[in-house]
Symmetry: C2
Subunit: 348 residues, 2 copies
Amino acid sequence: MTRALTVSIDAMGGDAGPGIVVSALLKTILRQPDVQFILHGDEAQLQPLVARQPKLKSRVTIEHASGQVSMQDKPSHVLRRGRDTSMWHAIQSVKDGAADVAVSAGNTGALMAVSMFGLGIIEGISRPAIATIWPTLRGQTIVLDVGANVSATEEQLVDFAVMGEAFAHVIFGLARPKVGILNVGAEEQKGNDGVKGAAQILRHSNLPIDFHGFVEGDDIAKGTVDVVVTDGFTGNIALKTAEGTARLVSAYLRQALKRSLFSKLGAVIASGALHTLRRKLDPRTQNGGVFLGLNGIVVKCHGSADAVGFASAIDTAIDMARADINARIASDRSAIAAESAGARAGEL
Amino acid sequence: MTRALTVSIDAMGGDAGPGIVVSALLKTILRQPDVQFILHGDEAQLQPLVARQPKLKSRVTIEHASGQVSMQDKPSHVLRRGRDTSMWHAIQSVKDGAADVAVSAGNTGALMAVSMFGLGIIEGISRPAIATIWPTLRGQTIVLDVGANVSATEEQLVDFAVMGEAFAHVIFGLARPKVGILNVGAEEQKGNDGVKGAAQILRHSNLPIDFHGFVEGDDIAKGTVDVVVTDGFTGNIALKTAEGTARLVSAYLRQALKRSLFSKLGAVIASGALHTLRRKLDPRTQNGGVFLGLNGIVVKCHGSADAVGFASAIDTAIDMARADINARIASDRSAIAAESAGARAGEL
């Protein structure tokens, strides 16, 4: 008998504590009737929370972990001293084969370090990346890397394209996702050597992608492509700049609506619509990032996520576990490596 | 007798043609009674436009240029073949000393190439940068480089800090501007070698700045610092990502307000406030970028600017010409170079 699809959860990771994890599970178990859950964390806290919810009884196992990674802990410290933490145990469950995927709302740097140490990297991929799903005028776009690395070579950008393509295939159900490389202009001659070299490789690859070429910063929100490839330095700054801009525009809107009695009245009447807008822009409803390129799947939930956000991160994790994304990444990557080797031999 | 402060204008550069340049001048001459203007471009088009405005007669000189740089022209092509263009002539007036500053709404890459070729770089500065003024929750912040270069070494980032500090001094009147370097985290150990090296130099410099350390993408719109230093690749992508996000949020707002009769009614009543918001987010009201680091001042107006935007670019140009920003940049840069040399000698 094969075991059910199992999700390993770091129950102590987020800012809000294990309460929201249990609330998230109450949502998830209805949507996902065939999935089991392992909660890693302080048994004394978790046991009573779970015991109060009879529906969770047959679906959730608690595994005690005495330690906890804080948001301030350095990744190197956690690697040396963190073996008793709920984060470490959550990754270990995936490594041991007890679970198919791990979810944590904890410290991103520590989670990446523990995940790399525990799971290792897919053969042929040189560095893992963090992918995020970005809201656009047309729907959603995957952007990666948004912070696993502070630079990327052309080969690493190609790795990210392969991983983003597999992610778009799994999450959006696209047979041939449209992939673009983030750059300072759309013309072929623009940009640094990394993006130009990666574009050159992707233009001639036989990957199941529609390679669009370069895209610019404003193309992300336009939804010009399904996958935007960039290095983790630029991607992280673009992501946070967008968050800051959304907050700035919301603040301008609030100021403008408070300026006169008429505009205040209008705001009251339109309050339902303005509430919808606020929810759409609330970073807590975003589900954080997915770590790609590891021998195992890890989903990083936003540290300040509420139950809705955490439940959505669990859903993403289950979709990815079901679709076996890593087999696709490994086979695409080796196909590209073979093509590159062939092209080099052809030049001799 | 010394001549009046004179602005050299590429009258053929923007998308909208010379008409908006003349409309902009009608606004500017009232605010700037002591300034003269040279319009470079097709005399047959410019002469009748200016002749219709008697107020401009004593303030504007037209200098004929037969050619024109298009938005599609490659910088290298313009350098080889563009000597008869209005853009080239506009820069040449600054080089010859006939004008104190140049303004163009033309092709950015070509304008940078022609400006570097014509004016040269300030001694001690290795690369020019494009600086822009970014709206924030607290007011305005200068961000540079937003697109003159596709990478930056630590020394070049220090150059940008020096230039941004001088710009903040001139435009915002700050004695000790707060300067931050854009990075993926605020902690000292984060980021690539370039940003870490630049932070190290600035932390120990005696520049008249308040060096804040690293800032993240969302700190730009928060207004955490007065000057945000970054390489042109990241800066350009951050700027365009912010523009795209502002448009996305506006589109969400429009959708939300159209959803029900009540919210439509609210939107009608609050329409004045929503119009104010739209104007604040309209990229045409931004005045583009300032080229810093050249032996002469060049202001790049947004290609799609209207008369208000072009007039605001001219105002910025005049402020910079009056303040003699380049003397400050040159003296700050040589002070830092001397400090670095001293520090190196101290290590022997």
